[in-house]
Subunit: 319 residues, 2 copies
DNA sequence: GAATTGTTCTTTTCCGATAAAAGACAGTAT
DNA sequence: ATACTGTCTTTTATCGGAAAAGAACAATTC
């Protein structure tokens, strides 16, 4: 009948890392800031560390008595927040099969199977609904729209609109904008990853997200920035269940990113546009290739969205 | 400790209207369909109507005994759903003054002042967050971002992108698409409203929303369609508190709509583009004019968003 | 006297319970 | 045979309460 203490447990685990690395711990407010929790939680952590004999704690003095070992850590199942637990569980069902579009979602059943209260599930579904994969019937159940080809196409359409615009805005950023320094840093990381690609190619997706978020940030538009959450969600879960051809896919994307970065640095709108489009096109094709081919007639939207991309908008300044 | 019975009360009131108009009532399933509620609720309504002597109810026979009077209706406060109550209350505070950007939102306080449970407020805030006016701090409070100039600009930017694309898609719709018939109907309604504008100009906003939703629907993209919810919310609440110049504003918009509709019917992409842009530009200007001029330096995004619109994207097919 | 600690109060997060509303199914009327 | 009604089951919407986490303030320490 109360919230779980995962915040404490998760912060405790991270704090063990800090202790192991430094041999002692900073002041309570400072620890709170680095761990991203309140001082109340910090003091709970310190209390337990003192209790288990990891440190001696007397006011300002927190010195390590022994190095933390594997047993000191809380198991990972206990450090996840409720929403993470629900999200993962839900996405597994969604992607790991048997989730037909049109199927209805039962809050109570979902809550019982995951082992949480209904409120948590409800709130998750409301938050999740903005991804466009589920829909609520008034005073009734939720309906699964499914991870379909048409979803992928609609997503790609918006992404392309937003990212082309963001990339153009990025190229127009003043010389002294901190984004340029961050771009240099990311470029270096791309090169570093490329050199050790054989062993580290799995790290690419994290770099990918950081790069695209940086670009989107240049739009200075909250709707564009927020929309990247949808893309990130899709990539995160979708590719987690679909590791086929991961290495090649990432290798291609990495090269495209480097060309894209070079184009941004040139500040030439035409070059930026071309490099961005090239990358977006391959991202879309890759995503579509991994969505199982479905009966198109059952998805009128997909057909239309595909034809949509052929429509030529009259040239002109954006409004 | 349970849900309110507003669904029943609201449906009951609408059913009184049906009864008054027709003199008798259809079958239970049919009534459920027209009122948009389940048969369980329909039977509750019929039971009360029989009890209060409005009808005699015996199986299939439901005949009116007396015409419904004002006293038969439930008061409007009791027919609103919890989320409507919370939304209105929240928007009133947001727009009716004293809501500074950066201010923090207290769930418990809000719940107490509105007289509802915390769960309802929480769920409302989560749902409302997609409008980009509030933001959540992890494990902590919500922060009000405010109905600022920069919000209006960011909103307008996306709206323009989406609507230009939707309008182009609309013009490319096949001749036999039902949207064309609906467009004809809306055009006729525009003309009818225009003829009686002096007395009925307040009805324009409802027509406005239906027209724009029809256009957006042609995109066949759920993200574009859903985004219109944001615009509709803004217009609904903002203009509800800002009636200054309403008649002129609506008159201009009505004429622009007629030109826009004519352009769509011409199916000429260049004409569609021009008419759509003209209308969007005046909609943006009108909205901006009604947002109080604020300290631009405190809102870096606003400045940038305004310069953004000057950037000329290289012409080319959409990806 | 500025930062840190000790203490207390507030707010968020979450669960279980319950009435309203939806939905299912069998029986009955046309 | 089809559509409607009567009855029963399932599911959703909402509240109150309790523990965890945050935040504020007073008392120390360097």
């Amino acid at each position: 009948m109360a919230r779980g203490n995962n915040v404490y447990k998760e912060a405790y685990n991270r704090c063990l890392g800090l202790l192991g690395a430094a041999g002692s711990l900073a002041s309570e407010p400072e620890l709170g800031a680095t761990l991203g929790v309140s001082r109340t939680t910090v003091r709970l952590i310190l209390a337990r560390m003192a209790e288990t004999g990891l440190i001696s704690w007397n006011k300002r003095d927190k010195t390590m008595l022994r190095a933390p070992c594997a047993d000191d850590y809380f198991p990972t199942e206990e450090t996840d927040s409720l929403s993470q637990v629900i999200e993962r569980s839900f996405m597994r069902r969604l992607l790991a099969g048997g989730a037909e579009p049109g199927m209805q979602i039962n809050e109570l059943e979902l809550a019982r199977e995951i082992g949480v209260g209904t409120t948590g599930v409800r709130e998750f579904l409301i938050r999740f609904s903005r991804f466009g994969l589920i829909e609520k019937r008034r005073n009734s159940h939720w309906v699964l729209k499914g991870f379909t080809r048409s979803f992928a196409l609609e997503l790609a359409e918006i992404r392309e609109m937003f990212e082309l615009r963001s990339a153009a805005a990025f190229a127009a950023l003043p010389q002294d904008d901190p984004a340029w320094a961050e771009l240099d840093r990311l470029e270096a990381e791309h090169h570093a990853l490329g050199r050790a690609f054989a062993t580290r190619f799995g790290e690419f997706s994290e770099l990918d997200e950081r790069f695209h978020r940086l670009v989107h940030g240049a739009s200075l538009n909250r709707f564009i920035v927020d929309f990247y959450d949808v893309i990130a969600m899709v990539f995160h879960y979708h590719y987690q269940w679909n590791k086929a051809g991961e290495r090649l896919r990432n290798e291609v994307a990495l090269q495209e990113h480097l060309a894209y970065i070079a184009a941004l640095k040139s500040r030439d709108p035409a070059k930026v546009y071309a490099a961005c489009r090239r990358h977006l096109k391959s991202a879309r094709d890759t995503l579509l290739a991994s969505v199982p081919e479905s009966d198109i007639s059952a998805e009128p939207a997909a057909k239309h969205a595909e034809s949509m991309r052929q429509i030529k908008l009259p040239a002109g300044d954006p409004v």
